[in-house]
Structure formats: structure tokens, C-alpha cells
């Protein structure tokens, strides 16, 4: 990659230039991401949507530095992303809680890796985020004693608590009941505006995408490409039941399904 062609947006937190990622699996070579160029601005809430298998999780892993690109480059600010770091926390699609730790210890795990905090501050912060996700009374429970939705909420608390600069979230709200989810939509927007974070979130729920995102990026599969980017200029905090939001969501859904049917025609 020629460094001269690497023009970054001045306030871009994450920049992807011609990123390609392939997997050599049992089913042959899959191009999970093909020539993706995208900027995530500092303090932006970017939402990725697209059909299953279009490379959303792969993109998050690359941004996290957990996997390496095959072609192209990814930067965080001016620094190339090569390895995972505390500044980019991932909340995975599966909850990934540690079964040898209880709820509180799981949330404390990331906090303990921040040397500038005292133990009391860590505890306070862990308890704050646990109560935010409504699990203050489950401090001592082990992951296997929690329901699927509870585990996902603990994972959410665990990724929010260390207060990372960039938060990468893979379908964080998919296993929650509607009430908790609505509450967390409000909370995450609150955290986002107050703490000035950069968030990249993956979802299958278009309405959720429009409710949370400053921009919604529509990806298409085989190979994974950016199809369309929607700017969502609604004032915050947004409510999921806002009619204006609903009409925008319908627009994105139409785009998604037209791409889907077109790609199916292509296959036929």
C-alpha cells in the first residue's frame, strides 16, 4: 500500500483503505470483504447492516486487530492497526464471558487492566454498569447461572465499563427482551453523547440501526462490499418508536431487500 495515497480524514478515528479479507475454509476460498474503503469519524456512531455472511463480524475483528487484512490498510488515527489494544474494545456476537469468574469479576476483568484506576474506583464503575444493565443483584452469579439475555447484558457491561475510546459491538442487543432493549437504546445513546465515544455497531435490526446510527452502512455479500451509506440526521436522543425514524428505516429496508433480490437473480 502506497502511503501517499493514504489520505485520512482529519478527524477520522478509524480509516479503512481498500481492505480485502479472504478465508481459506473447508468450502474453498471465501472473500469475506472486498476492497472496503470507509472512514469512521472521531465521535461517530456507525452502524453496519447487511445479510448474514456479508462480513460484518469479520470487519469488526479487523478493526479490533484480532485478524490481519490480506490487502489494504486500517488505521486508528495515524497508527496502523496491527494488534488488539485496550483503546478498541469488542463486544462479540457470542457473549464470551469467562466461566471461571462471576458476574462482577467478569466486568472487573477489563477494569483491572487499567493501571490508572484505584481498586475502589474499579468496583464502583463495575457496579454502576451492572446496575445500568439491570443486573446489580447478580454480582455473585456465575455465567452458567444466567439466562442468555442476562449473559449478553453482562457482556455489555463488561465492554462499557473500561470506557474505551472506540467500541466495536457485534449484535449487542439481539438476545434481549423489548423493554430492556428500549432502555438500553436510551442508555447507549446517553453514554455515546456524554462520553464522546466512537462506536461501530453491527445489527440485523434496521430500526435499531436507524435509531442509533449517525450513518448506516449497508454491506452486501459474496464478496462483502459497501453497497450504500445512509446519513441519519435525526436529533438525539432518538426514540425507537419515532415515526420519522420508522420511515427512514423503511427506506433502508427497501434498499436492503432490493440488493438481496438483485443478488439472488444474479445467482439464478
Amino acid at each position: 500500500m502506497n502511503p501517499a495515497s493514504f489520505k485520512t480524514h482529519p478527524s477520522a478515528a478509524l480509516t479503512l483503505r481498500n481492505v480485502t479479507k479472504r478465508f481459506n475454509g473447508a468450502a474453498g476460498c471465501v472473500t469475506a470483504l472486498d476492497d472496503i474503503t470507509l472512514d469512521v469519524k472521531e465521535g461517530e456512531f456507525l452502524v453496519l447492516v447487511g445479510p448474514s455472511g456479508c462480513g460484518k463480524s469479520t470487519l469488526l475483528s479487523l478493526l479490533a486487530g484480532l485478524d490481519q487484512v490480506d490487502e489494504g490498510a486500517i488505521r486508528l488515527g495515524e497508527e496502523p492497526v496491527r494488534s488488539p489494544g485496550r483503546d478498541r474494545l469488542v463486544m462479540f456476537q457470542q457473549d464470551a464471558l469467562f466461566p471461571w469468574l462471576n458476574t462482577l469479576e467478569n466486568v472487573m476483568f477489563g477494569l483491572r487492566l487499567k493501571p490508572d484506576l484505584t481498586e475502589a474506583e474499579r468496583l464502583e464503575s463495575a457496579r454502576y454498569y451492572l446496575s445500568l444493565v439491570g443486573l446489580a443483584d447478580k454480582e455473585k452469579a456465575r455465567p452458567h447461572e444466567l439466562s442468555g439475555g442476562m449473559r449478553q447484558r453482562v457482556a455489555l457491561a463488561r465492554s462499557l465499563a473500561p470506557n474505551p475510546r472506540v467500541l466495536l459491538m457485534d449484535e449487542p442487543f439481539s438476545a434481549l427482551d423489548a423493554l430492556t432493549r428500549d432502555q438500553l437504546y436510551r442508555d447507549i445513546q446517553d453514554i455515546f453523547t456524554k462520553r464522546k465515544k466512537t462506536i461501530v455497531l453491527v445489527t440485523h435490526n434496521i430500526r435499531e440501526a436507524v435509531c442509533l446510527g449517525d450513518r448506516v452502512v449497508l454491506l452486501s455479500p459474496n464478496p462483502g462490499r459497501v453497497r450504500q451509506i445512509f446519513d441519519i440526521n435525526l436529533p438525539r436522543p432518538r426514540r425507537i418508536n419515532d415515526p420519522e425514524l420508522a420511515s427512514l428505516a423503511a427506506e433502508v429496508t427497501d434498499a436492503l431487500s432490493s440488493h438481496l433480490s438483485r443478488s439472488q437473480e444474479g445467482l439464478a
Partner: protein
Amino acid sequence: MKLPRFVIPTLVAVTFLGGWEWFVRVGHVNDVLVPAPSQILHWFWDSLLNGELLSATWVTMRRLIIGFAIGAALGVPLGALCARVRWIRDTLGVLALGLQTLPSVCWVPLALLWFGQEESALLFVVVMGTIWAVVIAVQESVLNVQPLYLRAAMTMGSKGWHLWLRVILPAALPGVLSGMKQGWAFAWRSLMAAEIFVVILTGFGLGSLLHAGRELLRMDQVMGVMTVVVLVGLLADLIFFSPLERWLRRSRGL
């Protein structure tokens, strides 16, 4: 009506021992070759009173525990190293796999040559019995740690020693524990074999006691020691390994 669980085993044991006792008493078999349970119990009581049994058990247990501890303490880091470094896995890991299949009493001749008829010779045999099973178990369970745990930990900033001590080893713990249990069983067997074969001047263990029983044609002593060996093995499992395993299972919902 449901009988308590211990009733049937107790009945079977009493019938078996009673039948055995009767069989020997009426003279169907020579009681030099097959002593009656009462004779074994008698030996047991005598050697308990004169201190012989306790001191032999102590000598054996000390060898076993020290040897096992050394073997496990070396085996865990070596196994971790095998998992971490490819070429070490291809050399030491393969060697461990091979040596694990070698009955560790095969080490006795070498141990005697290297260390003489000393405690260290027996310790060496016990260490060889323990270490390879532990190395293999640690290597395998570290390699099988769910990548998702590692990825989650790394994005939270965990790496190096922190990753090993806080994530990889706890995640691998169930496998490591079952490797230790296997190592313990190997060590116990090899120690018995070595004690029976070799006279070690520095201590008279259970194996030596058994051997002496044979020389004196005291089958009550031989069978008594065998009983003690079985009991020690059972006890180690009952008070150490089983509770640990149960705790591990329960706390992780396995």
C-alpha cells in the same frame, strides 16, 4: 420400599469375607498361601501397634507427594511451553507422548545407576511417572482453550503473562486437573513397583514391607499391605481429586 444405598454393598462384603474366613478355617486351602481375613486383620493391628505400618506408609507417602509435586511443577510449565512454541511441541511434546506410554518402572535401572540406592532414585522414578502425563494434558488443554476467550481478553488489553495466568490457565484448568490425576496414578504405581524391586537404605516403605512379607512367607502381611495400598489410593481420590473436580464442575456448570 427402597433400601439405603450402602445396604447391598455391605451385605456383599460381609458374605464374601465371611465365606472366605469359613473356607480357610475348615481347611479347604492352606492358610500360608491364603490367609483368612482375621489373620490379615491381626497383622494389621499388630503392625499398627508396633508402628511399622505407619512409618512405612509415611515413608511411601512422602516419596509420592514430593515426587508428584516436582513432576507437576515441572510438567505444567513444560506443557505450556509445548503448547506455545511449535518446535518444542514437535520435539519435547512428541517425546512426552512416547515416554508417557513407557511404564515408569522401566526407569528403575537407570535411576539406580545414576543416583544409587538412595531416596533420590525413587523420587526420580516418581517424577518420571508424573511428568509426561502432566505435560501432555497441559499441552492439549491449552491448545483447546476456546479462541473466543483469548480474543475477548486481548481486546480488553490482556497479553503476555496476564493472558497466561488470568485466561489460558484458568480456561485449561479442567484438563490440567485430569492430567494431574492421571500423573498421580502413574506415580503411585511406579513407586510401588520400585519399592518392591529395590532396597532403599534410607527408608522402609510400603513396597518394602510387602517384599519382606514375601521373603518371610507372611501372606497376611502381603495382603495387608495390598489393602493399605488400595486404601491410600482411594483416600487420595476421595479427599483430594474428587472434591477438586466436583468444585470445578459445579462452579462452571459443566
